[in-house]
Point group: C2
Chain length 362, copies 2
């Protein structure tokens, strides 16, 4: 086991397409959407056999610090990296990198979204171990997910030159990243066999990613240095808040990965799913004979209804007649209804709520 | 004004197709489904210019007596006829008939469901006045509603021989009643021009209907006599309860109208609607540009949604994406979703709730 291997779990998202269960107060990653554990708990459990909880850091909004400590009993408050607000992935990862760098300048860090589902956890850990080896050779490594369909909602990785196998995993240089292609392009990507989905799972040396931030995002780097200088002082919170108002809002993909050299991918088939929306989620869960998935403590009465996901909160009765292919999410104060093929558009509901200043439902 | 003309409002239904707003505790007729008044209030207001509230009786379940008195401030408790339980329309009407007969043996009574909507109240009153004239000539009179479509949910009246005009209304002997025909039959009925919907609005002499009950429903007549004997005593409630456990459960249509002689109909075009289900109701209400009808104190967020009825209870947010032609009724404890063309089947939900012993949602 690599004593220098650290995990950074990014738990800052809001999961707006899983509204009205995912809310600003209790986002997706803190909910038991898929199984009996929350997605954060599943993420930690998945990593722990490879990286002990002492070397697992969670980057999260200040307001969710206690939630994380409740959900992950073994976690030290010291391992929480509290963001004043979300500024996309580059600042988040950069902040985690400076914090780890202070503990262990030889560290290799894996970056893991807190809100993904991975069916084959053993395979996941093998891939991360292999990626850590590649990262030790100064590669920026991203896991490549074999695409199961021409999904236009993901970023794609075009693999290039083949590298030496690592722990029986293929490895490739990355030729190019393409963000959310159109349908035709996505289809050609999938058919070529040379493309993978970018699952947002990265492994690299802490020093390497900080160098890349210095090179491509110098303003962010400047602020990270300031924050690093104040990290062990009682001014940490104040300095971080001030810096976070000024750092560029940019993704690690756009800010670094698309521009850096020596970027590699390790393809892995591990039953990955980003649980992006209600239709996605429904597909992951066991359905009854009619293809319905029923969740929640409430009471469903489904007549002549098929291929429908129903969440009913405790005490609520949800009656449906003659539906096929729908999503019904009935929470104590808010209800969502849409056909499954419109599940992506639930984010528009959240936007409408913001525009109409209906904060209590966000 | 005919001093012998009485009104009997039948307020005993449960409106199961308007679940989950219509409940056993607050059925359809006590709700403000159509406008700002309850359907019972609208029914009384519609009748009052013709028949003063002193001669309007309401037959209702014991449990709703106070509701009626609250909703109709001018009504005397003496004018409530409290049924121990619903036994269909023949016992209900028979009971009202014996009560009125005690007050005025020369009375003519009109029978009015409490849960219908009639747009042209003036025309309605003219028709009732005309029907009262015909009833004085010993006819059993039913109003005939000109059918606007081959609806298979109604009973149809086949008109026979033309009678003399009454107050400028046509009048016909009834040749035959047909309950809920199939689609093809309904179409032929409508095309012939000789059929009307049976709206369940009747006018007749009290003595005539009691004679008919004696003739065709002798068991009911026997019990009604017993009840009549105890009506002014302190045993009224007890005797009625006992009788009501024994009376046949039968409709006035099947029990009397289909068998009696000298039955007449007066056709009237008065914007009648029985507000039978949510799709019906939605059609009666003003819609927005997208054809959506929104009711309730809650908050709707409708994206790319058209031709949809939404009721949102206070405090509830109802979000819909990509729906067309749906009914969404979101109450504090129960939710209904169905396509409009399945609105008739909401009664199956109520039946399922009964079978599953979910009394709290009934």
């Amino acid at each position: 086991m690599n004593q220098h291997l650290y995990a950074v779990i990014m738990a800052g998202g809001i999961g707006s397409r899983l509204w009205p269960r995912s809310r600003t107060g209790s986002p997706k990653q803190f909910l038991d959407l898929v199984g009996s554990h929350t997605m954060l708990q599943d993420t930690v459990r998945r990593i722990e056999p490879l990286i002990p909880v002492e070397r697992i850091l969670v980057v999260v909004g200040e307001e969710h610090a206690e939630t994380v400590l409740e959900q992950i009993p073994g976690m030290s408050r010291n391992n929480l990296v509290l963001e004043p607000e979300g500024r996309n992935t580059a600042p988040c990862i950069g902040l985690a990198a400076v914090v780890i760098n202070k503990r262990d300048p030889e560290a290799v860090m894996g970056v893991f979204p807190a809100d993904h589902r991975i069916a084959d956890a053993a395979r996941f850990r093998e891939a991360i171990a292999a990626a850590a080896g590649l990262a030790s050779d100064d590669y920026l490594v991203t896991l490549g997910i074999a695409p199961s369909e021409p999904n236009t909602g993901y970023g794609y990785i075009h693999r290039g030159e083949s590298l030496d196998q690592r722990d029986r995993f293929e490895a490739y240089r990355v030729q190019r990243f393409t963000e959310k292609p159109d349908q035709e392009t996505a289809r050609s990507f999938v058919e070529s066999g040379e493309y993978y989905w970018n699952g947002g799972i990265f492994v690299w040396k802490v020093t390497r990613i900080l160098n890349e931030i210095q090179k491509h995002l110098d303003e962010l780097y400047h602020h990270l240095r300031t924050v690093a200088g104040a990290w062990e002082t009682d001014r940490r919170r104040e300095v971080l808040a001030s810096a976070w108002q000024q750092v560029p809002v940019v993704s690690i993909d756009f800010g670094i990965m698309e521009k850096a050299d020596r970027v590699a991918t390790i393809p892995v088939d591990m039953g990955w799913d980003d649980v992006g929306n209600w239709a996605n989620l429904s597909d992951l869960l066991e359905s009854d004979e009619e293809g319905n998935v029923v969740r929640g403590q409430g009471r469903p009465v489904l007549l002549d209804t098929a291929d429908t996901y129903v969440y009913a909160a405790a005490g609520r009765l949800v009656a449906a007649v003659g539906l096929e292919g729908f999503v019904i999410v009935d929470t104590p104060d808010a209800l969502l209804i849409c056909p499954k093929d419109r599940a992506q558009d639930v984010r528009d509901v959240v936007q409408a709520l913001e525009e109409q200043d209906l904060q209590q439902y966000l």
